[in-house]
């Protein structure tokens, strides 16, 4: 992608966000609140001090990884809406491994658990890829079905076989505190998972720029026939793509478990997988862009409490803003339409002038 196209994409993305802020602002006014107060308290809650900032960054972690997961599949031409299910199965696999390996040294447990999360979630991703490539099924439909099946399966596990006998809550036992990821800041939820996320963003950026496989995936995503003609093994490339895409969502689940809870809790994700899609699309599937867009969505989540407290509005207003953002992100042509209108007006002005 050349520089001009990147900056055009950034403008289009910003217009989507600005649009949703304006429309949400109108809603807020109708509800009798002051949008400026709402937004400024939200901003304060997201970036106001070190605690707020670390809260924002910690909330960005699962979104960043799910965003990467989606972007990876998207580059290969698969619309992976199954991230949510992959995240759950990854989280439960990581928890299971950590509980099973109780007593082993910390590093070995963490690495094994993350590998388990990656592989199990990756297998789920492969299943999606096979459904699309071999069975010619609509991957969106298959992924939605798989999401529910997996989430219910995990729910069964923590309500039944994996539930501690004395527990009333649908969750597994906690593994050793010692196995948790190191906190970057005391008394916050910001852990080294953030560094893992950032590293993966750069790694994938380089992967698509510099490696043969990355190039092949890109070609496959752009034009299946061209990929076939240039001798790319399509079946194998899709399987690898979906293994990595699913695996990244699995890692997202593992970082939540190892960074925040120390166990699997039923229904722990408020839809990270779905927001991850928006994070990726907003960044035009660019791994470096995803760092920023995930922090943007993380900031909205982090600012919600402060906003609710200061402006006396439901913290769910954030969902309204996010929902509208996602809708406009899904529709870049609205922004493009406006840009071309502005250009037309400018041209006319310069002619008239």
């Amino acid at each position: 992608m050349n520089r001009r196209k990147i900056s055009f994409n950034i403008v289009v993305s910003m217009i989507a966000i600005i649009f949703s802020l304006i429309i949400s602002g109108v809603f807020i006014m109708i509800l009798g609140d002051n949008p400026l107060l709402v937004y400024s308290s939200m901003l304060d809650g997201a970036f106001g001090d070190l605690n707020a900032l670390s809260n924002t960054l910690s909330k960005a972690i699962p979104l960043m990884l799910c965003g990467l997961s989606f972007s990876f599949a998207a580059k290969g031409g698969v619309f992976n809406i199954g991230s949510e299910g992959q995240l759950y199965i990854g989280a439960i696999a990581a928890t299971f491994t950590a509980l099973l390996m109780d007593g082993y040294p910390r590093g070995i447990v963490i690495i094994s658990s993350f590998i388990a999360a990656f592989l199990v979630a990756g297998l789920l991703g492969i299943l999606l890829g096979v459904a699309k490539a071999k069975l010619n099924l609509n991957e969106v439909i298959v992924a939605i079905m798989l999401n529910y099946i997996v989430m219910l399966f995990c729910s069964w596990l923590v309500n039944g076989p994996m539930k501690p006998e004395d527990s009333m809550v649908a969750q597994t036992e906690m593994f050793r505190n010692d196995y948790m990821l190191k906190k970057l800041l005391d008394k916050t939820q910001l852990t080294s998972a953030f560094i893992i996320g950032i590293l993966l963003c750069f790694l994938l950026y380089i992967f698509f720029k510099k490696t043969r496989l990355g190039y092949n995936i890109n070609v496959l995503g752009k034009n299946k026939n061209a990929a076939h003609a240039s001798g790319i093994n399509i079946g194998r490339t899709i399987i690898i793509t979906m293994l990595i895409s699913g695996g990244l969502s699995g890692i997202a689940g593992a970082t939540e478990v190892f960074g925040k809870y120390g166990r699997f809790i039923d229904g722990f994700s408020p839809g990270f997988g779905f927001t991850g899609i928006a994070v990726s699309v907003l960044a035009a599937n660019n791994p470096i862009g995803i760092i920023f867009t995930s922090i943007l969505f993380g900031a909205m989540d982090a600012g919600a409490m402060k906003m609710s407290y200061a402006a006396g509005i439901s913290s769910n207003m954030v969902k309204v803003i996010q929902g509208l953002s996602i809708m406009f992100i899904a529709t870049p042509n609205i922004a493009k339409h406006i840009i071309s209108k502005i250009k037309q007006a400018k041209n006319k002005e310069s002619i008239d002038g």
């Binding site: 509800l31 729910s155 769910n316 996602i326 339409h337």
Partner: protein, 302 residues
């Protein structure tokens, strides 16, 4: 024992029918929209909006039937907005639907707090009562059919046959199917593709919201946060499992609802989650089998 069994099964049947209604209405909407070649993952969100605005309508008008109408209007409006995003601005439909769901789950809570002062649920409103037909309701055995008639059930049955007739027996239905099957060909023969799609999406929005309103003003008497609880996605599954036909998707909805009724009303040894999974597993298996058959068939033809 026989009579006990009879009561027991008829009760289960009625429970399943009650659970079918919201699902089948939304599934019917999904059938219409997919016949026009559009996919709407926002069904869940539109149902939720329908559930909310139905209660709001009853709250302000004090008339339950107005709640139903308000839900219909809001659903149609959301459908129309969705249609503009998709048809005029060429939106990515899946992402748009996800956005709509997030938006709906947020705005309904925000508005609930604004109107009733509490985040989780609204205050109670008057429910939409069933119709009882005099005399007929007194006839033994069948009398029950004429007592407390569910208006939604009547609407659903009418709509199923109306939609079936429309899609398969009118020229407009033929054109709609043509668009879904081959858009370019439909355009070539001069069908106003986008106009058909616009109406299909709008109607499907209204139906989804109608389904949602059933949850809040018939099955319940208030709005509860996220009360649709995945029924929108289940409706999408029902439509596919029902082979994307009005009657098929209604039967599929009934089947899924029956599984739910078993789950709610019976003590069974199968874990709850597996019964909940059933619709999705069935749908996956069904589309896989169909696809394998199709691939084999195509191979045979060379």
């Amino acid at each position: 024992m026989v009579s006990l069994d009879y009561i027991f099964t008829s009760e289960m049947l009625f429970a399943a029918i009650r659970l079918t209604i919201p699902l089948a209405l939304a599934a019917l909407g999904t059938t219409i929209i997919e016949k026009s070649g559009v996919i709407n993952l926002g069904v869940e969100g539109i149902m939720l909006m329908g559930a909310f605005f139905a209660v709001l309508g009853v709250e302000y008008s004090k008339k339950p039937i107005m709640g139903m109408f308000l839900a219909l209007i809001v659903g149609a409006l959301l459908g129309a907005i969705y249609a503009v995003f998709v048809l005029k601005f060429n939106a990515n439909q899946s992402v748009l639907g996800i956005g709509l769901n997030v938006f709906a789950s947020g705005i309904t809570v925000v508005l609930t707090r604004n109107v009733w002062g509490s985040e989780g649920l609204s205050e109670s409103v008057e429910q939409l009562k069933g119709l009882t037909i005099p005399y007929l309701s007194k006839v033994p055995y069948v009398g029950k059919l004429f007592t407390n008639i569910n208006i939604y059930l009547v609407i659903l049955l009418l709509l199923v046959f109306l939609t079936h007739w429309f899609i398969y027996y009118t020229k407009y239905g033929l054109r709609l199917r043509a668009i879904g099957e081959n858009r370019e060909a439909a355009e070539t023969v001069g069908i106003a593709v986008k106009k058909y799609q616009f109406y299909a999406i709008t109607i499907s929005g209204a139906l989804a919201a109608l389904g949602g309103s059933y949850l809040s003003i018939v099955q319940n008497n208030r709005f509860v946060t996220d009360m649709v609880a995945g029924r929108g996605f289940m409706a999408i599954a029902a439509n596919i499992f029902g082979n994307q036909t009005p009657i098929g998707s209604t039967i599929a909805s009934f089947l899924f609802a029956f599984a739910q009724a078993i789950r709610i009303n019976l003590e069974v040894s199968i874990p709850d989650q597996f019964l909940q999974m059933l619709p999705y597993i069935l749908t996956l298996v069904a589309i896989s089998i169909m696809s394998v058959k199709k691939i084999k068939y195509n191979k045979k033809r060379g």
